[in-house]
Symmetry: C2
Subunit: 370 residues, 2 copies
């Protein structure tokens, strides 16, 4: 609570910013980024996940301070990053939709671009797209290490067959493996989380060894998340650490006792109603994601918040000094889907305020740029 209060951006500085607004403390983001880079072992690189913020201005901040590559989750994100001059982009997803394949090809015309596969049809789609567009793609085989989402089994024949087929293609490049143990990222207890990560690490090493045993080099093994950072140097299977949340953080990760990354993202709100017993803010479900629970109000971090589409009602004591027109902050519980709700981020850097577009959001398919 004390820490939270100390960390809030200046309301005076933000007086001209329309609410609801998402505010980034750039200095804290930079410090968080340096801390993440410093936690890596030799042989590991930070490949920050663009999906967390979808803002190329933040990607450039990450690339200016120790990250040399990025990853992203959608092909539109790859297009935006490539248009902004980012040279090495991994799409950490299978690409199937025809429009998405076309976007991947556009990005690959301007940057080194890779994507994931876990079935022969993914490979065939990438190969056909690369030939048609006259580009090449890097490809990683995704392995399944306990999340029960995408990927082939570590012991499957498909693993070796896919890697062999990629290596044999003249328009694809075998970049390595994607191994994402998402089931680990929700484990709050540091000891249990580290143990679960070591299980994934062992599975991932086994997949690498199977490929090496048949003569296939595995230059990249991508995976991990912010939850792995406290012990990521011990996880020797991974080369590319695709953490994203560490930069801005949220209250979900804020509850992890070993994650020393202060929050750098704040939802600025205006009080639009005041009764003796409550205030109502001009933010709601359209301004803060609730899939991991409601946001936290900085004025009373224990207060229960009642959210509707465009309002948040908060019980306050009758002697609270807040009145209509005052401004305050909410702390998001999950940054990725929260930032996805905003077209603009407001950066506070020292005494400067700058606005930047969240340009990696889903594009308007009625707009001329498409």
């Amino acid at each position: 609570m004390t820490e939270t209060r100390r960390a809030l951006p200046s309301l005076d500085l933000l007086a001209g910013v329309p609410t609801p607004a998402l505010v980034v403390d750039v200095d804290r983001a930079r410090q968080n980024h340096r801390r993440a880079v410093a936690s890596l072992a030799p042989g590991q690189v930070l490949r920050p996940h663009f999906k967390a913020h979808k803002c190329t201005a933040l990607a450039h901040l990450q690339l200016a301070h120790g990250a040399t590559t990025v990853c992203c989750q959608t092909t539109w994100e790859a297009v935006v990053l490539a248009r902004q001059g980012v040279s090495d982009i991994m799409v950490t997803n299978q690409v199937v939709d025809p429009a998405a394949l076309a976007e991947l090809a556009e990005a690959a015309g301007a940057a080194s671009v890779s994507a994931l596969v876990d079935a022969p049809v993914h490979l065939a789609l990438l190969e056909a797209t690369a030939r048609r567009a006259g580009v090449s793609f890097g490809v990683l085989v995704e392995i399944e290490v306990g999340m029960n989402r995408c990927g082939v089994g570590v012991e499957s024949d498909a693993l070796v067959e896919l890697a062999t087929a990629i290596a044999a293609s003249d328009v694809l490049r075998f970049d390595g493996l994607q191994s994402y143990d998402g089931q680990v990222t929700g484990v709050i207890d540091p000891v249990a989380r580290r143990e679960a990560s070591i299980v994934s690490n062992t599975l991932t090493r086994r997949a690498v060894e199977r490929l090496r045993a048949v003569g296939i080099d595995v230059p990249i093994v991508a995976g991990c998340a912010t939850a792995h950072l406290p012990f990521v140097g011990e996880l020797d299977a991974w080369t590319d650490i695709q953490a994203g949340s560490y930069l801005l953080m949220d209250t979900t990760y804020g509850a992890f006792p070993d994650l020393d990354y202060p929050g750098a993202l704040f939802c600025l709100a205006t009080v639009i109603h005041r009764s003796p017993e409550r205030i109502v803010l001009d933010v709601g479900l359209k301004h803060t994601a609730v899939d991991r629970g409601p946001p936290t109000w900085v004025g009373d971090t224990t207060a229960a918040l009642q959210l509707s589409d465009e309002h948040t009602a908060i019980a306050v004591s009758p002697d609270s000094p807040l009145s209509i027109g005052d401004r305050t902050f909410l702390l998001p519980s999950h940054i990725d889907p929260t930032i996805n709700l905003y077209p603009t981020l407001w950066f506070v850097d020292g005494d400067r305020v700058e606005r930047h577009p969240v340009d990696g959001r889903m594009p308007d398919r009625t707009a001329p740029q498409l």
Copy 2:
């Protein structure tokens, strides 16, 4: 389930639409709209809530089929509606933020625009804005009828004082009352919901009578929602029925036994992963709001869905014919925040597919139009 299957848009017709995409069945939306209009009593008008879809193309559909006015929740929505030629716009919210007041003034330069107040400071802000911009505003006093959000008490002195002050202003027009009993909209049981609505109706009538007793005419009493439509003709306190969800519907309202409004909104998704035991779709928390629970998969409406930021994993039987590249639909659980996630809606009308922008979403504050 049978009904759901029968109602699905044609996948063939949508073959060229990039996924994830939100698809509107225009014919069903039109039928739902006609049904809502037909449920009103004499003296009541449907004032469809723009916040539900934020799409001016849908507002025009509503205005072409029996609605003469609209309401909206944000001032940006009012600006967009006014720019698109809508002539009568009620903002069902208190307007406090300076940028929001400027937007309200812009809208009032092109249309008849009203907003809510529940404190003298709201009135002062509207009056100062109207004078500065050389426009006038309609004003409604919001009363509190059990939702515990905004509004003044039905028996409060503030009710009469505010209405009197509005009526005395040379730049404001007293339009009446806003009475929104949001606590009723979640009551599934029709009998309990109707009884709760009658309580709100009585409270609202009391507020109207208090104003009439001091010589203040109350031309408009706005309120209600889709949940009230089955018995809205009995609710004689309200003149302007501000329902929104009825047009496209969602699975939350779909569970209300007396709401005969079939779903007209579908999230189109592509299968990007297939294992014997599951499929994974290219939609996730950034494409479907989960504040009222996960969406429903049309392939098995009882299936448990595991959503992450950009994926939905669904357990299927090994003999399911679905494979990578196939497309399917999810049914949103809450339309307002789901549509807010998309820049574009795809309209299916007979054998035509058209795209329309969700132009009422929060604008990019870095864009030139601002």
